[in-house]
C-alpha cells in the first residue's frame, strides 16, 4: 500500500471518517488517490533532445446520488483540502437520499507485476539504445532524413477508499518505445512510424536487439509510402490486415457499446440489444485480463476486477461495457470498465483490449475475391460520431487490389463508414487473429487512456475510401 498519508496532516482514519460522512446518503462514491511517476526520453534530429521526469500526486473525491455526479479533485492531500472537497460535494447533493451500495466483487488475479519500469534500466542505458537506434536506421538507408525515437515509462499507484473504509489498490507499470523515420527521395518525403509497449519492464520488451525489429518496421513503412500513388476515391471492397487495423472495431462499434451513451440513448446501438448487428461469424470481446497488455487492468478505477466481456457473439449484440454508475441506472452489473485518465477526471465506461476473434478464412482467399478494392495494413488513428454512427480511420500503409492481386501502395487516405451497418458488410473473417503492438491511446471527453485492439484479417464488402483519384 502506498503511503498517501505519510507526509500529510491527514491520517487514514480521519480520511475514512470524512469519506463515510460525505457519502452517507449517496448511492455510491469513493476517494481515489493516485501517485504516478513517469519518464520520457526523446531522441530527435541526431540528438537527445529531451529527458523529462514527472511525479504527480493527488486525489479525486466523488459522490453519486441517483444520476447526479459530484466530483472534486486536488493535488494537496491534506485535512483542509479533503474537507473543502467534501463541502463542495455536499453542496451539490443537498437533497441526496440514497443508500450506499457497499457491494464490490473481489478477485486475487493480477495481470502484471508490481514493478517500476523507470528504475529498471538506467538513464545511460536508455540513452545508449536511442543513439544506437539512430545510427542503425541511418546506416541502413541513405534516404533517411530524420529519425525520432523515444521511451516512455510510467508507474501509477492507485488506492480507492470507499465508504466504511474498504480499500482497494493497484500498481500499474506501463512502457512504450516508438520510432519514426522520414525518408526523402527525388524531392518527395514520406514517414513511417512503429512502436511497441505494454505493462512490463523495458528488458522484457527490448531483449537484446529486439529494438531493431521496431526500426526495420518503421523504415519499411516509410519506404513503401515513398512509392505510393494517389489513393482512389469512392465506395469499394476493403481487406483489413490483422492486428492494429482493429481500431476499426474500436471506433465503429466499441465506443457505441459503452454504457453511458446507451443509458442516455445517444448511441446508434442503444435499442439493438439482442439483435443481429454483425455478420454471422463475427464475435467481439473487450478483455482486460490479458497478461501485460497495454489495455489490461487488475482492477478498474472504481476497484472492480476486470473481465473478458462478450460484446457481440456470432453477430448478436450481447453486452454493453459498464462502470458502476451506468450499470446501476441500467439495472445491470459493472463489467470492470470504469476508467479515468488520472485523479483529475471522473470515471467513464471505457474499452480495455477490444478484439474480434478468429474465423476460418485466409487472407489470401479474401484478396483473391476482390476485383477492385484496397488492402489496408496499418492505420494512424480513428474517430467516431457516436450519435450518427459514422466513423473514420486513416491508413498509413495500404495497397490497391486489382483482379485479386495486390498492386501498388497508395497514399494515406481516410476511410469512412457507418458503425451499426459496417459489421453486416463483413463477408469473410480470417483465421489469423493478432494483437496490436501495444501503442493505442483512446480519447473520450478529453481523457486519454491506454487501450489495446486485436483482430484477424477481414473482408468488408463496401466502404468509402477518401482518396483523390476519381
Amino acid at each position: 500500500m502506498s503511503g498517501f498519508f505519510e507526509k500529510s496532516d491527514l491520517s487514514r482514519n480521519e480520511a475514512e471518517n470524512i469519506i463515510s460522512e460525505t457519502l452517507q446518503k449517496c448511492d455510491d462514491g469513493e476517494l481515489y488517490l493516485e501517485n504516478s511517476k513517469s519518464e520520457s526520453i526523446l531522441l530527435d534530429d541526431n540528438k537527445i533532445k529531451n529527458s523529462n521526469y514527472t511525479s504527480d500526486l493527488g486525489f479525486g473525491f466523488r459522490a453519486i446520488s441517483d444520476e447526479i455526479v459530484a466530483y472534486s479533485h486536488s493535488n494537496e492531500i491534506s485535512k483542509n483540502s479533503l474537507k473543502q472537497s467534501s463541502d463542495n460535494l455536499k453542496s451539490t447533493l443537498k437533497s441526496a437520499k440514497g443508500t450506499y451500495n457497499h457491494a464490490i466483487p473481489k478477485s486475487n488475479k493480477k495481470y502484471y507485476d508490481n514493478i517500476n519500469p523507470i528504475e529498471q534500466k538506467s538513464l545511460n542505458e536508455k540513452i545508449k539504445i536511442l543513439n544506437d537506434v539512430n545510427e542503425y536506421i541511418r546506416s541502413k538507408n541513405n534516404d533517411v532524413k530524420q529519425v525520432t525515437a523515444n521511451f516512455l515509462g510510467e508507474q501509477k499507484s492507485i488506492e480507492i477508499i470507499r465508504s466504511g473504509g474498504e480499500t482497494l489498490s493497484d500498481v500499474r507499470p506501463l512502457i512504450r518505445f516508438n520510432v519514426s523515420v522520414m525518408l526523402e527521395k527525388n524531392g518527395r518525403k514520406e514517414t513511417g512510424v512503429y512502436g511497441i509497449g505494454g505493462r512490463q519492464s523495458y528488458d522484457s520488451y527490448l531483449k537484446e536487439d529486439n529494438w531493431k525489429n521496431v526500426c526495420d518496421e518503421a523504415l519499411r513503412i516509410a519506404s513503401v509510402n515513398l512509392e505510393s500513388k494517389p489513393a482512389p476515391a469512392g465506395e469499394m471492397k476493403v481487406v483489413l490486415g490483422p492486428g492494429w487495423p482493429a481500431i476499426l472495431i474500436h471506433e465503429a462499434v466499441g465506443h457505441g457499446l459503452e454504457g453511458d451513451f446507451n443509458r442516455k440513448k445517444t448511441s446508434a446501438f442503444h435499442n439493438l440489444m439482442g439483435q443481429k448487428v454483425a455478420s454471422e461469424g463475427v464475435t467481439i470481446v473487450d478483455d482486460g485480463t490479458i497478461d501485460n497488455r497495454r489495455g489490461s487492468l487488475t482492477i478498474d478505477d472504481e476497484g472492480t476486477p476486470t473481465e473478458k466481456t462478450v460484446l457481440i457473439e456470432n453477430g448478436v449484440l450481447k453486452n454493453f461495457m459498464q462502470d458502476r454508475l451506468n450499470a446501476r441506472l441500467m439495472n445491470t452489473r459493472s463489467t470492470g470498465s470504469g476508467r479515468r485518465e488520472n485523479y483529475r477526471h471522473v470515471v467513464l465506461p471505457r474499452m480495455r483490449n477490444t478484439m474480434m476473434l478468429s474465423g476460418k478464412q485466409t487472407q489470401e482467399e479474401m484478396i483473391k475475391s476482390v476485383d477492385k478494392g484496397i488492402f489496408a495494413v496499418s492505420f494512424g488513428g480513428g474517430q467516431v460520431d457516436i450519435t450518427s454512427g459514422k466513423f473514420v480511420f486513416n491508413c498509413t500503409e495500404a495497397y490497391e487490389i486489382i483482379n485479386g492481386k495486390i498492386g501498388s501502395p497508395i497514399k494515406g487516405a481516410t476511410l469512412i463508414g457507418d458503425g451499426p451497418s459496417i459489421l453486416k458488410e463483413v463477408s469473410m473473417v480470417g483465421n489469423d487473429m493478432m494483437l496490436d503492438p501495444g501503442i493505442g491511446t483512446c480519447g473520450k471527453a478529453g481523457q486519454g487512456v491506454p487501450v489495446g485492439v486485436a483482430q484477424p484479417s477481414i473482408l468488408i464488402n463496401k466502404m468509402t475510401v477518401g482518396g483523390t483519384k476519381l
Binding site: K7, D44, D45, I48, N50, S51, N52, Y53, T54, S55, D56, E67, I68, V69, A70, Y71, S72, H73, S74, N75, N88, L89, T92, L123, N124, Q146, M182, E184, R188, K189, E190, T191, A231, A233, E235, K264, K265, R344, V346, Q383, V384, D385, T387, S388, K390, V392, F393, N394, K411, G412, A413, T414, L415, I416, D418, T464, G466, G467, T468, L470
Partner: protein, 438 residues
C-alpha cells in the same frame, strides 16, 4: 481563490536557488495554479458538478549545454528538493546539445501593458444552474430534440515564469465557457451538433437562450442526411472548420517542423503559398483576446506578426532552441501562436454560396487527416449540398481530400471574420477538392 503572485514567486525563486546550489549553471521554472468549477446539465436536470484545483511546477536545469526537466504537482519543499536533485543528476548524464540555452536577455519581455485578461467575478453554482436551465429549456423546445447536455464552466489561472537570468513575471487569466450539445431524431436518423461560447469576461458571454436555440437549430437541420456521389467540387468550410486550416498552417511553419525538415512549408519564406488576396496575422495584444499573452512560454516578448502578406510567407514561428538551429532570432512564438486569424475577404457569405452553381458546405470533419510532411489532407465530413446559393439537403458519410499546397492557393474568404476562438477564419471556399461518397 487561485494562489497569489507572492506564493508562486516564492516557490519559483526557491527552485532557482536550489538548482544553482546543486550545480545547475542555468535554470528556468514555471509554477502555475488553476481552479475550475463546472456544472453540467442533462435533459433539464443537474447531471454533474466538478471542481478542480491544479497546482503544478516545471523545472528545467542546464549544465553548460546539457539540459533536463522535471515536473510535479507536489510543491512541498521536501519533494522539490528530491526532484531538483534528480533533475540536476539527469542533466549531468544527458549528452550536450549546442543549441540548448535560455532566451537571449535582450529579447525578454520588459514592459507589460494591461490587456484585460482577468475577470475576478465568481459565479456561484446557483447562477450557473440558472443559466443552464434557461439554455436547456430553449435547446429542447423542438420535439425532435431527444437529448440535451450543457455545461457552464468558470476557470481562473495564475502563473509565474522565472529564470536564472533574472526574468520573473506572470499574470492571472480567467475564462467563462458555456456549451450546449443536442441530439435530434427523426424516423431515418439521429444527429448531434453543438454550440458554445467562451469569453475572458463573464458579462461578454452569449445569451443562454440564444445558445441553446442555435445548438438545436444546427442539429435539427442535419436530420435525414443523404450520401452523395464521388466528384470534384468546390468545398465551403464553416468558420468552425476553416480555422483548422490555420492551425495546420501554424504547425507547418513552426521552427521545430522547419528545422527538422518535416514540413511541406520548409524553405518557403518569401514565396507565394497563398493567392495574393490572403493575409494571415498573429496578434498577441488583443484586449480580452482568448489567445492574448504578454510574453511567450520562455519569457520572450511577443509582437504582432503578419505571417502571410498578400499571399507571401513572411515568418516562421520561432522559439529559442529551434531559432538557434536555423540561425534566426526567437520571435516570441515558443508555445505557438496567440490570436491567429485570416484577414477578411471581400465578398459576403451569401455571395460565397453563390460563386458556384453547386458546392458542398462542411460543418464538421472527423479524423486526423492532415499530414504536415507531405501536405496531404483527407478527412471524413458532414455538411450540406448547396445549389444556386441555397442549402438543399444535409449530407454525410463522405470524405474530402486534397493537398494543402494546392488548397492554400485556392482559398477564397468571405468577409465575416469574428473573434470567437483564439484562432479564427472567415467562411472559406476551396475549389477543386475531391469528395468521395457513393
Amino acid at each position: 481563490m487561485v494562489k497569489d503572485q507572492e506564493f508562486l514567486e516564492k516557490k519559483a525563486l526557491y527552485c532557482l536557488g536550489l538548482a544553482k546550489k546543486m550545480g545547475a549553471t542555468q535554470s528556468s521554472v514555471v509554477v502555475n495554479n488553476s481552479i475550475s468549477e463546472t456544472v453540467n446539465f442533462r435533459n433539464k436536470k443537474l447531471d454533474e458538478s466538478n471542481r478542480s484545483d491544479d497546482l503544478g511546477i516545471n523545472i528545467t536545469t542546464y549544465i553548460g549545454k546539457k539540459k533536463s526537466s522535471i515536473s510535479s504537482s507536489n510543491l512541498l519543499n521536501d519533494n522539490l528538493n528530491t526532484l531538483i536533485e534528480k533533475c540536476v543528476e539527469t542533466t549531468k548524464n544527458t549528452p550536450e546539445d549546442e543549441f540548448n540555452s535560455l532566451p537571449d536577455k535582450d529579447l525578454l519581455a520588459k514592459t507589460i501593458k494591461d490587456l484585460n485578461l482577468f475577470d475576478d467575478t465568481h459565479v456561484e453554482n446557483d447562477q450557473k444552474i440558472n443559466y443552464l436551465k434557461k439554455l436547456e429549456a430553449s435547446a429542447s423546445d423542438d420535439k425532435r430534440i431527444i437529448n440535451t447536455e450543457s455545461s457552464f464552466s468558470e476557470n481562473k489561472s495564475n502563473f509565474i515564469l522565472a529564470n536564472s537570468d533574472g526574468f520573473c513575471n506572470g499574470y492571472k487569466t480567467s475564462s467563462f465557457t458555456a456549451s450546449s450539445v443536442t441530439v435530434a431524431k427523426d424516423e431515418k436518423s439521429m444527429e448531434r451538433d453543438y454550440e458554445y461560447t467562451n469569453k475572458c469576461f463573464l458579462k461578454d458571454l452569449d445569451d443562454a437562450e440564444e445558445l441553446g436555440k442555435l445548438a438545436a437549430t444546427q442539429t435539427i437541420r442535419k436530420l435525414s442526411p443523404k450520401k452523395i456521389g464521388s466528384e470534384k467540387i468546390s468545398v465551403i468550410f464553416d468558420k468552425r472548420i476553416a480555422k483548422g486550416m490555420l492551425s495546420t498552417f501554424a504547425s507547418a511553419i513552426s521552427a521545430s517542423a522547419v528545422s527538422r525538415g518535416t514540413s511541406f512549408l520548409k524553405d518557403k519564406i518569401n514565396q507565394n503559398i497563398f493567392s495574393k488576396r490572403i493575409n494571415i496575422i498573429d496578434k498577441p495584444d488583443i484586449l480580452k483576446g482568448l489567445g492574448s499573452r504578454y510574453f511567450d512560454s520562455e519569457g520572450v516578448k511577443t509582437e504582432t506578426l503578419k505571417l502571410v502578406d498578400q499571399g507571401t510567407l513572411k515568418h516562421y514561428l520561432i522559439d529559442t532552441y529551434n531559432g538557434k538551429k536555423l540561425n534566426l532570432k526567437s520571435n516570441g512564438r515558443c508555445g505557438g501562436t496567440s490570436n491567429l486569424y485570416f484577414d477578411n475577404g471581400n465578398i459576403s457569405f451569401k455571395d460565397l454560396l453563390n460563386l458556384n452553381s453547386k458546392s458542398i458546405y462542411i460543418t464538421e470533419t472527423i479524423g486526423h487527416g492532415s499530414n504536415i510532411v507531405t501536405g496531404d489532407y483527407s478527412v471524413g465530413a458532414t455538411g450540406f449540398l448547396v445549389e444556386q446559393g441555397e442549402f438543399k439537403y444535409p449530407i454525410n458519410e463522405i470524405t474530402i481530400a486534397g493537398n494543402f499546397k494546392d488548397m492554400f492557393k485556392n482559398i477564397i474568404l468571405a468577409n465575416d471574420l469574428e473573434f470567437k476562438y483564439a484562432t479564427n477564419s472567415p467562411t472559406m471556399m476551396i475549389d477543386g477538392m475531391v469528395v468521395a461518397g457513393k
